[in-house]
C-alpha cells in the first residue's frame, strides 16, 4: 500500500506542477497557486478558478464555478463519514479526490482509514510542493499545452477511480453517469454536468438487505 501511495503522490505532484505552471503562464501571480493549494486543496476547482480568471471572468464567477464543481464533496463526506470519525476536522480538510478514490478502493474499514490519512497527508505535501515548483517554473514555460500538461489531471483521476469502477454494480451507474455528464456538458455551466451524473445511480442495484 505504501508503494501505491508514493506512486499516487508522485503523479499528483506532477499534476500540481501542471497546475502551478498553467496558472502562472496565464498571468496570475506566482504566490497564487500555493495560496490556493493550502486554502482550497481541491485540484479540479483550482484549475477552474484559474481558467475563469484567466479568461477574464469575475472573481465572483470563479468562486461560484469552484463551489459548483466541489459540490461533489458533499456525498464524499457522507461516504467517508465513518472512515474519518476519529479526526473529523483533519479528515474533512484532506478529502482530496485522489485520496477519496484511493481509500474507496480499500474494502476493509481499518485499511480504508489508514489509507485515507496516510494518502491524504502525503497528497497534501506533494500537491503543495508540485504547485510551488510549477509556479516557479511557469514563469519560464509559456505554452503549457505544448507539454500536454492539461491531460495530467484527468489521467490521474481516471487511473485512481478505475479499480472502483470495475466493481460489479458500479460499472453500469458509472458509465451511464459519465454519458449523462458528457451529453449535458455543452449546455450547462461547469460543475452541473458532473452532478447530473448521479442520474446514473438509476442503474444501481437495490441492496439485497432491504
Amino acid at each position: 500500500m505504501l508503494r501505491d501511495i508514493i506512486l499516487v503522490c508522485l503523479a499528483v505532484g506532477v499534476v500540481g506542477m501542471a497546475y502551478g505552471a498553467i496558472t502562472v503562464a496565464n498571468g496570475l501571480p506566482v504566490w497564487l497557486p500555493s495560496f490556493m493549494s493550502v486554502a482550497v486543496l481541491a485540484g479540479a476547482s483550482q484549475f477552474l478558478f484559474t481558467g475563469v480568471i484567466a479568461a477574464g471572468g469575475s472573481p465572483v464567477a470563479a468562486v461560484l464555478a469552484g463551489l459548483l464543481v466541489n459540490a461533489r464533496h458533499l456525498p464524499f463526506g457522507f461516504a467517508l463519514a465513518d472512515t474519518v470519525r476519529d479526526r473529523r476536522l483533519l479528515g474533512s480538510y484532506l478529502m482530496i479526490d485522489e485520496c477519496v478514490a484511493f481509500s474507496l478502493a480499500q474494502r476493509d474499514p481499518e485499511a480504508r482509514r489508514a489509507a485515507f490519512f496516510a494518502c491524504g497527508a502525503a497528497l497534501f505535501l506533494c500537491w503543495n510542493a508540485g504547485s510551488l515548483l510549477g509556479a516557479v517554473a511557469g514563469t519560464a514555460i509559456t505554452d503549457t499545452d505544448a507539454l500536454g500538461l492539461d491531460a495530467a489531471f484527468p489521467a490521474v483521476l481516471l487511473a485512481l477511480v478505475l479499480p472502483s469502477v470495475r466493481r460489479p454494480g458500479v460499472r453500469g451507474p458509472a458509465l451511464l453517469g459519465a454519458g449523462i455528464a458528457l451529453a449535458l456538458t455543452p449546455y450547462l455551466p461547469v460543475g452541473l454536468p458532473v452532478l447530473c451524473a448521479l442520474g446514473g445511480l438509476a442503474l444501481a442495484r437495490p441492496a439485497r438487505t432491504e
Binding site: 503523479a11 464533496h73 473529523r88 474533512s92 479526490d97
Partner: protein, 107 residues
C-alpha cells in the same frame, strides 16, 4: 485583466471555506443519524460515479468548450495503461507525453 491581490485572497478564501463545508457536512452530521449498510454502499457508488464523470468530462472539455482531440487521446492511453495496472506516474507521464506528441505532429 488580473484582479488585485486582495480580491484573489478573498475569493480563494471563500472557495476554501465553502469546499471545507461540503467536506465536513458528512462527518459532522453523520452522528445525528446512522446510515444503513445499503445506504453506505449507495454513497460509495455515488462518489465513484461523480469521480468518473469528472475524469471523463475534464478529459474532453474546459467548461462548455470541447478541447482539441490530443487531450482525450492522452487520457485514453492513460486509461489503457491504468487498466493493466501500470504505475500511476507512468500513466500520468504517458497522458501528457501523448497529448504533447500529437500536438507537435499535427499542430
Amino acid at each position: 485583466m488580473i484582479p488585485d491581490a486582495w480580491v484573489l485572497v478573498v475569493a480563494g478564501g471563500v472557495l476554501g471555506l465553502g469546499t471545507f463545508a461540503y467536506r465536513a457536512a458528512g462527518p459532522f452530521l453523520h452522528t445525528r443519524f446512522t446510515l444503513s449498510a445499503a445506504r453506505q454502499v449507495l454513497m460509495t457508488t455515488a462518489a465513484t460515479v461523480l469521480l468518473f464523470a469528472l475524469a471523463v468530462t475534464a478529459s474532453v472539455a474546459d467548461g462548455q468548450v470541447w478541447s482539441d482531440p490530443a487531450r482525450p487521446a492522452g487520457v485514453v492511453v492513460a486509461g489503457v495503461l491504468a487498466w493493466f495496472r501500470a504505475p500511476f506516474v507512468v500513466v500520468v507521464l504517458a497522458a501528457a507525453g501523448t497529448a504533447a506528441a500529437l500536438r507537435l505532429l499535427v499542430g
